[in-house]
């Protein structure tokens, strides 16, 4: 019994030291981390909104996880900017959805356009699911922007 208590005590001491040093590091880095997140978000909003309008964030389900994207829509409901914030698609295939050559096809679309691969969008070779996911995300974002008006 005494042995178990002694071991538990030693382990607790290590945990306290560890927690204390983490709290110390957290205190110093947290303000900087929050600032970085805010700067990164503001930058992306600026990038998808070259003109006044509304930035909508959507996360359609891709091939291997959600594709977090930010879509800029102007006041007439036209898409004026799009960027992929986060994705876990296959490198070299699905991950190519974040390339401008694919994303620029969406510029100027409204919710009256079909926004479908093979109709008005060229999908990425070998990445049908990822391409379709981005299309459905764009559709969702355009609808959201219209409803918000």
């Amino acid at each position: 019994m005494g042995k178990i208590l002694k071991l538990a005590f030693i382990l607790a001491v290590f945990c306290i030291i560890s927690a204390g040093s983490l709290a110390f590091v957290y205190m110093f880095t947290q303000p900087k981390i929050d600032l970085n997140r805010k700067i990164a978000y503001d930058l992306s909003v600026k990038e998808v909104l070259p003109q006044p309008g509304k930035a909508v964030s959507v996360s359609p389900r891709g091939y291997s996880g959600p594709i977090n994207m930010l879509v800029g829509v102007d006041r007439l409901g036209k898409l004026i900017g799009i960027m992929i914030l986060n994705q876990t698609e296959t490198p070299g295939l699905g991950a190519n959805v974040s390339r401008p050559i694919f994303l620029n096809q969406f510029i100027g679309k409204t919710d009256k356009d079909p926004i479908e691969p093979k109709i008005d969008i060229d999908a990425i070779t070998g990445a049908t699911i990822s391409s379709r996911a981005v299309c459905s995300g764009v559709k969702q974002a355009l609808e959201k922007a219209r409803e918000a008006k």
Partner: protein, 196 residues
């Protein structure tokens, strides 16, 4: 003499990835380009050197029965510190490495060195072992990263070398990692046979 040996055995003779074959999970996952490989190596080096140092320092007051939980506490503390520091000062790198930073906790190189070396050796030797092992890990990871990025994406450290359309995409997918590691291991074995 033994200090020097502790330092350089990790680089080639006991290279953690290519000879001991431990810590392969992050090696497979983040070696698809050279930049990620270098960033991961730096994070692992920080954690490995610090945890070897602390484990060697506390080895006399660590009871045998609970040494593994204590190692894990030490290691996860340093991993969390490096996670915070990367988020604060190199957010782009943190973004690229994503989930693999927290996973350094379960990287068997680090726990393996704590148990097999730092727990049984003085502080200075353990720090040198940590530096040597980190260099061996970085050497393996960056070589694999460069080979895979050149063959699979036609670039190195993000600088385009040739048209990516003619690159072999399989090299930046998981099979490319296995193929590259296998070939490097074979190469190292061949070299060793020649030396003997």
């Amino acid at each position: 003499m033994s200090l020097l040996k502790d330092f350089n055995q990790g680089i080639i003779a006991e290279n953690p990835v290519l000879r001991l074959m431990i810590g392969l999970c992050p090696v497979l996952a983040v070696s698809n380009n050279a930049t990620n490989a270098l960033g991961m190596s730096a994070a692992v080096a920080f954690v490995l050197i610090c945890s070897n140092w602390v484990v060697a320092m506390i080895r006399k007051i660590t009871p045998d029965e609970i040494r593994i939980p204590i190692f894990i506490i030490v290691i996860s503390t340093f991993v969390t510190i490096s996670d915070y520091v990367m988020q604060a000062f190199t957010p782009e790198l943190h973004h690229a490495l994503g989930v693999f930073v927290p996973l350094i906790v379960v990287n068997c190189i680090i726990l393996g060195r704590a148990e097999a070396f730092a727990y049984r050796n003085p502080v200075l030797n353990s720090i040198l072992d940590g530096i040597g092992m980190s260099m061996g890990f970085a050497l393996a990871l960056v070589s694999i990263g460069v080979i895979r990025e050149v063959l699979g994406a036609g670039s190195v450290f993000g600088i385009a070398l040739f048209n990516p359309a003619v690159a072999a995409t399989v090299m930046i997918l998981p099979p490319g990692a296995f193929i590259t590691i296998g070939i490097l291991m074979a190469f190292l074995n061949k070299m060793e046979n020649k030396v003997q």
